[in-house]
């Protein structure tokens, strides 16, 4: 397991869980202001969320211009629907990235021809590491990587193929050559382990 220092590879201070929670509470508060039409608050939300959204979407779509387009759509959607954010139902980060992930996946599923999807099957597993190499060092990347490594291979592959490969569970089962029921279970217990390792609720 990699050594976990107090700074990350780019020398920026590492955020602990408490900082993350604080930063998220900030975004939640900002979303409330955005809902009231506050454009300055939107700028703040943009500064904090555009990077995570773009990174995640690019992990799914691979193509940067398309990913930028989806990121912009998602941020505009935040502006439009900020009043619908409900902090009692989860964190701001989760709300934003759930929205963004659905959009990215919808785009892949509606545009990707089946032949291309097959091709991506081969690259999905390789590219996940490439994606994480290029991160901007403001999020708890190292912690996530460490927690991902704590999953079994089947759990990790099921989770990342679904999340970044935008495959359905039955497609993942086909790619990995295991039973559909097994993949469903591994996705669930893999995410539970990831959740517990990250200390999120």
């Amino acid at each position: 397991m990699k050594d976990v220092g107090v700074t990350d590879s780019q020398g920026l201070p590492r955020r602990g869980p408490a900082d993350d929670a604080g930063a998220d509470a900030d975004v939640a508060g900002l979303l409330g202001q955005v809902a009231r039409g506050d454009q300055l608050a939107f700028e703040e939300v943009y500064d904090r969320m555009a990077g995570p959204v773009l990174g995640m979407v690019r992990g799914v779509l691979r193509d940067l211009p398309q990913s930028e387009e989806v990121m912009q759509e998602v941020l505009l959607e935040l502006w439009r629907t900020a009043s619908r954010f409900d902090a009692s139902k989860g964190s701001a980060l989760s709300w934003v990235l759930t929205l963004a992930h659905r959009r990215a996946v919808d785009r892949v599923r509606s545009e990707q021809k089946s032949a291309e999807r097959e091709l991506r099957a081969a690259s999905a597993r390789i590219d996940y590491d490439d994606v994480t190499e290029t991160v901007e060092a403001t999020m708890d990347r190292e912690r996530v990587r460490r927690c991902l490594r704590s999953l079994t291979d089947l759990q990790r592959e099921s989770v990342t193929l679904a999340y970044y490969g935008s495959y359905t569970y039955s497609e993942v089962a086909g790619l990995l050559g295991v039973a559909v029921g097994t993949v469903k279970t591994r996705m669930r217990d893999g995410l539970i382990r990831l959740r517990d390792c990250l200390g999120v609720e």
Partner: protein
């Protein structure tokens, strides 16, 4: 727990990963409606997937932010779901000054209310459609398709409302989404035409003038909502009075020409 339920419950992980195909999703979401424990579990799993996604963060190009700020300045916001404020004072308020649509809204203070009411009605239809579709996909009929088309425009991130008087009387209102290449047309108070004549819509622009459909007969003074799709850049929408069966190209002067958004 019955076997079927255990199977469903196992889908929580796949659901949090957006890895459930549409057909199963509807079934699982019906299960969620009755299973608060599942909802809680999925919230937790979504926190985990969000962290997974955020860990891939990259720095976006600086000019994208300027673009986004320009876009929000043109985009109205949805009102909150609560009902503690009168409609019309919340959802539409946020549009910044200077927009063409806003100046039109200002001249007709009742329009935001109307639009909100219309939008609420359409959304109710769309939600009902969604439930129907989830329940019986094979029974998808034209009305449902139309409901989806309306919902797509209303839910588009770039929806804009325009309104204009019709030269011969009445008012036309258009909710337009460039993104969806569609608009929803409604009108009220139009002059009543003899049975042999009807109003026809046209899309007019660099792509030529194309018929966009005959208006349905008014019900309770209101026409529409009617979906016009296939918008091209630079299109305007026009309306003429034509023979009841429609005409391949406009044969009379327009009673309405409405420039569409950017």
């Amino acid at each position: 727990m019955r076997r079927g339920q255990a199977d469903l419950h196992a889908l929580a992980g796949a659901y949090a990963l957006d890895a459930v195909p549409e057909a199963d999703r509807a079934r699982f979401e019906r299960h969620l409606a009755r299973c608060e424990a599942c909802v809680q579990e999925i919230r937790g799993l979504r926190e985990a997937t969000a962290r997974l996604g955020a860990s891939a963060a990259v720095r976006p190009r600086a000019e994208l932010k300027e673009q986004a700020l320009r876009a929000i300045a043109r985009t109205r916001q949805l009102p909150p779901l609560s009902r503690d404020a009168p409609p019309g004072q919340r959802g539409w308020r946020a549009r910044p000054a200077g927009g063409r649509a806003l100046s039109r809204l200002r001249q007709r203070p009742w329009l935001p209310w109307l639009a909100t009411a219309l939008a609420a009605g359409f959304l109710a239809i769309a939600v009902a459609m969604g439930v129907l579709v989830a329940g019986a996909r094979h029974r998808l009929d034209l009305d449902q398709v139309r409901g989806h088309a309306i919902a797509a425009v209303l839910n588009a991130s770039d929806v804009t409302m325009l309104t204009a008087p019709v030269r011969t009387g009445g008012t036309a209102t258009v909710l337009e989404s460039r993104h969806e290449h569609s608009l929803v047309f409604t009108a009220s108070g139009l002059r009543v035409l003899p049975p042999s004549r009807n109003y026809e819509l046209w899309l007019m622009g660099p792509a030529g003038t194309r018929p966009a459909g005959m208006l349905p007969r008014p019900r309770a003074g209101m026409i529409g909502p009617m979906v016009v799709s296939g918008l091209a850049a630079g299109d305007r929408i026009g309306m003429t009075v034509e023979p009841a069966g429609g005409a391949p190209r406009p044969a009379s002067d327009a009673v309405l020409i409405l420039g569409l958004g950017s």
